[in-house]
């Protein structure tokens, strides 16, 4: 059989819609992960022992159980307790919770890396604990976390393909439909591999730029 990409031409619009859904799901899940990650990172640096342990259990569990199992847990489980939400929302929730476990690790190490002297300076100047956290600790931790959070996002893009297993027609889901319509699975999945690789490559480029932009003032001047 000849490797023929032209057969995909009529389906590009449909695939683009799928890609858009992937992007939307990933952006929402990234936001969810970072918010959840921040809360859990705070919990993990909390003074109360049980709060720390609870946060640790969450991170440990969600990092060591396959995402597809987590996804099925929510997708089949939530209706069981009377929560009926669509596949997209379920997917975003599951991705946020799984991503949050990774994001919390990243943000936590960002917080722990902050020079204690800076916190002491804030303390003696009379800044409240809350203000110190929102004005000093978080901004510094988030800036230093840009790169590792970028890795979390890239992972999320790849993981989002699993949402196709709960009937969501994101990029992989719509590719599956095109594959069975055209009977050309080889071409479509080869293209899909390249599209995902290009997508993650673009994201890592963007992350690099963002990192440099956000941290340009933290770098030593050249020369």
């Amino acid at each position: 059989m000849r490797f023929d990409l032209t057969i995909l031409a009529p389906h590009i619009g449909f695939l683009a819609e799928g890609a858009l859904l992937t992007v939307q799901a990933c952006i929402l899940s990234l936001i969810g992960s970072v918010i959840l990650g921040m809360l859990v990172a705070i919990a993990r640096t909390s003074a109360a022992g049980w709060v720390r342990r609870l946060a640790f259990v969450y991170v440990d569990l969600f990092r060591n159980i396959p995402f597809i199992v987590q996804l099925f847990f929510f997708y089949y489980g939530l209706p069981e307790i009377g929560i009926y939400i669509d596949a997209f929302t379920t997917g975003v929730i599951a991705l946020s919770i799984a991503g949050g476990a990774y994001a919390s690790d990243v943000i936590r190490s960002g917080i722990l890396a902050i020079d204690n002297g800076i916190l002491e300076a804030a303390e003696v100047s009379g800044l409240s604990k809350r203000k110190t956290f929102t004005r000093i600790v978080l901004p510094i931790a988030l800036r230093t976390s840009v790169r590792p959070l970028g890795s979390v996002l890239i992972n999320m893009i790849l993981t989002s393909s699993i949402l196709s297993t709960i009937t969501l027609n994101e990029l992989t889901g719509s590719a599956k439909i095109v594959a069975s319509d055209t009977f050309r699975p080889f071409e479509i999945y080869v293209v899909l591999l390249v599209v995902y690789a290009a997508l993650t490559w673009l994201v890592s480029l963007g992350i690099g730029l963002l990192h440099r932009r956000l941290n340009r003032d933290m770098l030593e001047p050249v020369g």
């Binding site: 490797f3 159980i65 597809i68 099925f72 089949y76 196709s164 590719a175 599956k176 479509i188 899909l192």
Partner: protein, 223 residues
Amino acid sequence: MRFTDFTSYDLVLLAQGLATTIGLFLATSLIGLAIGALWAVIRFYRVPVLTQLVAFLAEILKNSPVLVQLFLVFFGFPAFFKVNVTPVEAAVITLSANTAAFVYVIGVSAIESIAREQVEAARVFGLTRWQVLRHVIAPQAAAFSVGPLVALLVNQLQVTSLISVIGVVDLTKIGNILNLRTLKPFIVWSVVGLLYYLAAKLVATLGARFEDRLRAHSAFRGL
């Protein structure tokens, strides 16, 4: 007793699923380790064409979803190459190649981390490139890579769950079957999740123990 209730035979099913998961995990890890190490060696020798090919392949495998890779092998290969691919074969091919890509990355960074001077110094003594690789680089690179490799394996164990999507009856697939029959998603997916969690912890613990042993052995070398 209703048709949908749990039976003691379900435990046997779970055990079978777990055995399939672990069996495929072990097999694909070994194959992946061998291929990935071979790729790293190809790069060390700077074999023309092959080096670039391997780098490109690893880059694509690393930056695309495993699910899509599985679809390509399981649906794409039979359609394009007119070969018969069973779900288990597709799983072995995909997971091995995916593991190999990450092993390759770890191996390359391990080799590069070993100071260039060491290689130069060894070359001055008249050792061939192969002797340098075998006696100077390989032992150090292996010691250097154990930590990242253990982390990789813990991750790859979770990745095996995706083969359920193409019909391999692994632990996740058993979860699907029990979920459909009993309609008790919370129990089913909690049990499946717990089994994966315990398996991940087992791999991590064994890996850590192995790493400690290796450290103790190579301590005199200053590693």
